[in-house]
Amino acid sequence: MSLLIDLFTDHTLRIVALGAGAIGAVAGLLGTFAVLRRQSLAGDAISHAALPGVALAFLVGAAAGGGLAKHPLMLLAGAFAAGWLGMLVVTLIKRTTRISADTALGIVLSVFFGAGLMLMRIIQDLPTASKAGLDKFLFGNAATMLRIDVLTIGALGLLAAFVVLAVWKEFKLLSFDPEFMAVQGWPVRWLDILLTTLIVVAIVIGLQTVGVVLMSALLVAPAAAARQWSNQLGPVAALAALFGALSGVGGAVVSSTIPRLSTGPTIVLMASALVLISLTLAPARGLLWEHLRHLRQHREVRVAQVLVGIYRLASEHPDPTHPHDIASLDAVGLHAAGNTMAQLERRGWAQRANGKWGLTQRGVAEARELEAGGAL
């Protein structure tokens, strides 16, 4: 309870939670499309590719006049340009050579990042007072988030969400059947570029908070979790945004209460926990329910087998409700386990008398039906 109060009173926590929540929501929304188009790892590539852009932006800003260098939009613009360029290179490689998509992503990811490291070292050697830290970029530094950061994230996030809503049906068709879309006359390539651009924006706004390695997780996890709960695109995307926001806020809150727990990794663990929960518990698709369904099916089969088995055994007597004891049932190979018999009793198909089991009239009728059905 005090956590919630902190959320409202502690200024820093509020800022961080809002910012992280916004980042998570946008990443969740756009991640839905990335995951459905099998571009889950594009986020990883974009995150890493952004580093040289950030460094270059800083250098340009420092050269232009110190104060500009640390302006959030400046670094964001640099990250965006580099990330976007990276995706362009990936597309070029895929289109002009036989190199596979994952290799292309891997090349861009590592080479751009390496170039970025080179630039970062040059920056660190500069005599200027304020420098961008490599740590902050790799792991994010949520604690240093300012109000203006949150406003920037919020504004860009809203813009991205607005665009997605505007061309919702277009993105839907693009993700499902781009060939049909081309035949209808839509400019498929441009829509693809638009969607990629929005994904780059989603990644880039979160980099300084969550860090490189982990931002890509926010693109994938909320969407993967959301997919388990619904079979329609709208609800999946909405849920993904919600899960992303929850991960962001939750991660921020939890990491503020436990000392020396970095925010970025905590957010990722929250998101991953949501995936695990969704995987197990979601209705219909959840693994737990699937397992229970299997168990129930097995039980049904066993109950039917035992019922008909008893019926056949009892048919040797003039009275089909003649009771038998468990031993004689076992002797004919019927594994009448306790809970199976309990099931039969509960359904009113069998009853116990003097330690022996016999069918009821209803049980006899049921067994006759099953036999007539030919299932057994």
Binding site: S110, V111, G114, S216
Partner: protein
Amino acid sequence: MSGLSLPLVALTQPQLEIIAVAIVVSAACALSGVFLVLRRLALVSDAISHSILLGIVLAFFLTHNLASPLLISAAAATGVLTVWLIELLNRTGRFKEDASIGLVFPVLFSIGVILISRYAGNVHLDVDAVLVGEIAYAPLDRLSLFGQDLPKALWVMGAVLALNVAFIALFFKELKLSTFDAGLAAALGFAPALLHYALVSVVSITAVGAFDAVGSILVVALMIAPPATAFLLTNRLVMMIVYSVGAAVVSSVGGYFLARMLDTNIAGAMAAMGGVVFMLALAFAPERGLLAQFLRRRRQRWDFAARLLAVHLLQHEGDADAQYECSLPHLHEHLRWTEAFAQGVVRLAQQQGLVTRGGEQLQLTEPGRRLANTVLGQS
């Protein structure tokens, strides 16, 4: 050996040693990477290189010693764990393959980072070093074995390189077959699954061995870019391995000198150099490079068009509207060739002896008819 004189630069022993380490590291990574790239597991290497952090942290907690050989085992184990978890997620049928990768490694990495910041914050386990590495320090950490005093990194990576060479040499047949025809490999009893995990283990060991020098993230660069470069240069597996190592060595040595020139992070420069080498291959590789493709397309456009002209004339010979179909204006109108192009093609066809021209009418010659028939027979 006190030094070596090159035209522009005099290298001291420590610098030579750094270059030696760079060469050994890049060669080992390239060898690991060849089969990763061919099997489309490039991003699995990225995943492993991130999740290795967790293994190292856990091993560190056990031994409190960064130099312990347990680290290597922990790395291999984490690599296998990563791949196993990815397979597990795949098998639920609820996630696509790329999503599985993207779900697993951030979790492991996050746990690693949290463990470090919570419990190892005041010990020298600098995460920067794990991810980024610093090859410049290599000559400082020395190890004496067999009477030779060399940087420890050279011993370790030398052994890893030997491991890679041995692995590929011993299992070349099996690796080749299971990469290009997994079904056949299984049918022949080569246990592709076992081989898969063996490969993953070798990759993980290579990664952790290399992280000391170049950082685990840049291991990805050295594992992927040189084999991709080689892939553009050849069709043969053996040559691909050779070119990969070559590209890797060029990248690392070139990167070293670039870093010296700009006074910057050596590992980063090596990765960037790998990218430059790849781009050069992309542009200029014979046959598969962009320039070669462009030139070939241009040359073949004319040849192709001449063949098309021959086939077209053959198809419409003796038709009711042959006179129209076999005329020059028709080419422009129905084949959608510009007048200039059509004229050029006709000229080329005449030069090749395929066609004769009477005013606007075009006639197929005997050789032309034979060529057209051959072309159609082939298709």
